[in-house]
């Protein structure tokens, strides 16, 4: 239950900015996703918070305690936080219980209490009874949960997760999503997790910080980022959708010469984001030609080419023939700012 405040934090490797001028406040008990494409600086940002890297400039505070600044950097072991690595980083020379007990040992806590707290932490991740297992004998999801238990065991207020689900298969991933949500509810810790998978971020986080090229693109709730992306980068990264050119005026927005229902503000030529679920096929409306049709099970993801040459994505219940001419209406669009 700690506020994490980053103020104008930058991190350079050589001349290359991995993180540039990031200012964010992560409220008490929030569950924040750091989202962005590969190489955008997510891991670096997490490592700055954990204290494994020192910012080139800017400050990091936990509540009112300065953790890193121009002249000072609190060592990672003094920051009292828990971190789960993408590789899980379980120590192969210790069994499950010893891995989980390690942070308590490092704090010099008594044997009896350690035992009890380890049992509690393993219970929380549904691994009671695995104490004596070698970590090499665990499946990916089990390892992940041991790593989680190790970071929960101290009752820390800050939990950092680096791509916690990246190595798990689809079904395990869904199960772990539930566990994370559950842990968050039960501990109330301030959780930060790194992911490049937008669906993970949407499903899990209550706040998303979207990064690109080391800079914050947008901060907000999942719904905000999905419905009202702050720029084309965010719009392109989160959810499926098409970005189309349109004309905005005070009395409405025109796309392909037809009025559409567009949220947001803008004037003159603008870009609008159209989500597949906002597109309906019809007998009239904007004309297009089927360019591609891909089966997804529930429906067919169809891509149309519009008269302007732009492409538009929508879901159709049936396979459409490539090249077929169709018409569509757009129920909802978002004028991308800037």
């Amino acid at each position: 239950m700690t506020i994490i405040t980053l103020d104008a934090v930058s991190k350079q490797f050589g001349s290359n900015f991995a993180v540039r001028d990031v200012s964010v406040t992560l409220p008490k008990g929030s569950f924040t996703a750091l989202l962005g494409p590969s190489g955008c600086g997510k891991t670096t940002l997490l490592r700055l918070i954990a204290g494994f890297e020192q910012p080139t400039s800017g400050t990091i505070q936990f509540d009112t305690r300065l953790m890193a600044g121009p002249t000072l950097s609190v060592a990672p072991e003094k920051r009292d936080l828990g971190i789960v690595f993408q590789s899980y980083a379980l120590w192969p020379h210790m069994d499950v219980a010893a891995n989980v007990a390690y942070p308590l040992r490092a704090r010099g806590i008594g044997r009896a209490e350690i035992e009890q707290r380890v049992a509690r932490a393993l219970d929380m991740v549904s691994l009671a009874g695995f104490e004596q297992r070698s970590v090499d004998a665990l499946s990916g999801g089990q390892r992940q949960r041991v790593a989680l238990a190790r970071c929960l065991v101290t009752g820390t207020d800050i939990i950092l997760l680096d791509e916690p689900l990246a190595n798990l298969d689809v079904h395990l991933r869904a199960a772990m999503l539930d566990i994370f949500a559950d842990i968050h509810r039960r501990t109330g810790a301030t959780i930060v997790f790194v992911t490049h998978d937008q669906s993970e971020a949407l499903a899990l986080a209550d706040r998303i910080v979207m990064l690109d090229h080391g800079q914050v693109q947008q901060t907000g709730t999942p719904q905000q980022l999905y419905a009202e992306p702050a720029n084309a980068t965010v719009a392109g990264f989160i959810g499926r959708g098409s970005i189309l050119a349109a004309q905005a005026a005070t009395d409405g927005t025109l796309l392909a010469g037809r009025p559409i229902n567009a949220r947001g503000t803008g004037k003159g030529p603008v870009q609008v984001l159209v989500r597949p679920e906002a597109v309906r096929l019809g007998d009239t409306g904007i004309a297009g030609q089927v360019a591609r049709c891909r089966y997804t099970g529930a429906s067919y993801e169809t891509v149309l080419t519009l008269a302007s040459g732009e492409t538009l994505m929508l879901d159709t219940p049936n396979r459409l023939d490539i090249g077929a001419a169709i018409h569509l209406t757009i129920n909802d669009a978002w004028i991308i700012p800037g």
Binding site: D80, G82, F85, A89, H93, T154
Partner: protein
């Protein structure tokens, strides 16, 4: 199938043949198995003492090597200590310098006539025995000589410890020292055991150091006992010597076995990842200075003493401006044609051995990988034996084997080629090890992709496997070259007219009491080695990382 057969054949020629010949000499008399000689030998006090001394000095020498090598491995591999690379480079030098030269240098440093201590007024008074003589000195120099082995082995292990393991421990609340103690050391345990075992085996097979430091006091190890037996009784005792060689072989095998088991059984699958790097903060410079001081003491002081000795006209003459002379260098380098020849001979024989082994290592390692695990272990062990045995033993085996003319080749004896063959036998393990490791690290997919592309086994070997492990085989070749260039004991019995090696020259000068000339040769050899290493270091910038042990 075929590669496996070829490998077994190669191992047979390189390892089993010479050793088998020795075993026959030791245990088969007049065509029947007969262990009485072995039992008689074991019953002797001298043999038992030598076994004890061998175990004692090798074990404590290995521990000392660990004590010296491990801190350096940690500092160089894990921290941001300044001048890491240079220190790593310098730390390897003791391995590249012949043990005899090391011993010589230290004796010259610490004896009553030490030019260096004399100049400081700290030399022991005349009549004081050299403090290095005896058990303590042998252990100390084993420690120095084999510290690089520990260093290299541990560094290889440390490079595998992923950063995540360390960072997980730090965010769990452990400071750097606790992390080293509770995470890195346990993870490194197999490498620690392997390093100690390797240093131990090197000690068991070492002749130069106990020869110079132990024999004067009749403190004999098995290696020097063999030498003394041969020297005093001549070849009449060949069977006896073979028996002693077997004993060394058994001890060495145990060491090798421990090492293999350590790296296999206890080995943890460590994920690849970014290497660990601790910030030392304000300790950076003090630690760098401390490291340099230790290296200076281990390496430079004795070398300077050696240089000082090489600059006086006769051993025991104090070094001063008036006694300073280059005569020893002129004598050995210009007047004695044999020295120049020896440089040439050692040079091309080592180079050939290195090149041949580098080329052979790749198919051998590939073939080894195809053997059944059990057979593979045995084969590896067999290959290490000629390296672990004292060179003089191997030399005798070679004489026994190659004296009679071979079909096609004729007699190798009294030609330089017998030395080459002995080098190939002795150093095959050195060349094979890095290639074996590198090959294991090549994803099998790379070879499978070539097969799917239509490339047959030979083409895969030449176009894929060989280039990929080239850095490793180059590193192995480098080790072979250095070792062969510095080697004294193998060629001691195998050289013939005009085929003398550097070691032979150095040894006979020392034996003739011409310590100053011996020192001059030693200094030149060290110089050549250092220059070579520097050239390699230059080249190393273009080689893939990890090719050179210090890069």
């Amino acid at each position: 199938m075929l590669p496996a057969v070829l490998v077994l054949f190669a191992v047979g020629v390189l390892a089993v043949l010479p050793l088998g010949r020795l075993v026959t000499a030791a245990l088969v008399h007049d065509g029947v198995f007969d262990a009485t000689l072995l039992i008689q030998r074991l019953a002797r006090g001298a043999t038992q003492r030598a076994i004890l001394n061998t175990l004692d000095t090798s074990f404590f020498g290995a521990l000392l090597a660990l004590a010296i090598g491990a801190p350096f491995a940690f500092l160089i591999a894990l921290t941001d200590m300044p001048w890491r690379r240079m220190q790593g480079f310098l730390l390897l030098l003791p391995l590249m310098i012949a043990p005899q030269v090391t011993a010589l240098a230290w004796m010259h440093l610490l004896g009553p006539s030490s030019a260096l201590l004399g100049a400081l007024g700290m030399a022991p008074p005349p009549g004081t025995a050299n403090p290095l003589l005896g058990r303590g000195g042998i252990i100390a120099l084993f420690g120095v000589q084999h510290a690089p082995i520990v260093f290299i082995t541990l560094r290889a292990g440390l490079a595998l410890v992923p950063r995540d393991y360390v960072e997980a421990a730090r965010s769990a609340g452990s400071g750097p020292l606790a992390v080293v103690w509770r995470i890195i050391l346990p993870l490194l345990r197999p490498y620690l055991i392997a390093a100690v075992a390797l240093a131990f085996v090197s000690g068991v097979g070492n002749f130069g150091i106990p020869a110079l430091l132990g024999m004067p006091q009749n403190y004999l190890t098995l290696a020097t006992l063999i030498y003394q037996q041969l020297a005093s009784n001549g070849p009449a005792v060949l069977p006896q010597v073979a028996v002693l060689s077997l004993l060394i072989g058994v001890i060495a095998l145990v060491g090798v076995g421990v090492q293999v088991a350590a790296l296999r059984g206890g080995g943890f699958a460590m994920g690849r990842g970014m290497p660990v790097r601790f910030g030392l903060g304000r300790w950076r410079w003090p630690l760098a200075m401390g490291g340099l001081a230790v290296i200076g003491f281990m390496l430079f002081l004795p070398l300077v003493a050696l240089v000082a000795t090489s600059l006086v006209p006769a051993y025991g003459v104090p070094l001063s401006l008036s006694t300073l002379t280059g005569d020893n260098y002129v004598e050995v380098l210009v007047r004695q044609a044999s020295t120049a020849r020896a440089f040439f001979n050692s040079g091309y024989l080592s180079l050939l051995a290195a090149a041949l082994l580098a080329v052979l290592a790749v198919p051998m390692a590939l073939g080894l990988a195809r053997l059944r695990p059990g057979l593979r272990q045995v084969t590896n062990g067999a290959l290490e034996l000629p390296y672990a045995l004292p060179g003089i033993v191997l030399a005798i085996a070679c004489i026994l084997l190659f004296l009679r003319p071979l079909p096609l080749l004729g007699s190798l004896y009294a030609t330089p080629w017998i030395i080459l063959v002995a080098y190939l036998m002795r150093f095959a393990a050195l060349a094979l090890k890095p290639v074996d490791v590198a090959l294991a690290q090549i994803p099998p997919n790379l070879l499978e992709a070539a097969a799917a592309s239509g490339a047959g086994p030979l083409r895969r070997l030449v176009t894929i496997a060989a280039p990929l492990v080239a850095p490793a085989s180059a590193a192995g070749a480098l080790l072979v070259f250095m070792s062969a260039f510095n080697e004294l004991t193998v060629s001691a019995l195998l050289w013939s007219s005009r085929n003398e090696t550097l070691g032979v020259i150095l040894f006979s000068l020392e034996e003739a009491g011409l310590s100053t000339q011996a020192a001059a040769i030693a200094v030149v050899t060290v110089g050549v080695v250092v220059v070579l290493l520097l050239v390699l270091d230059r080249l190393g910038r273009r080689l893939p990382a990890g090719t050179l042990p210090w890069r």
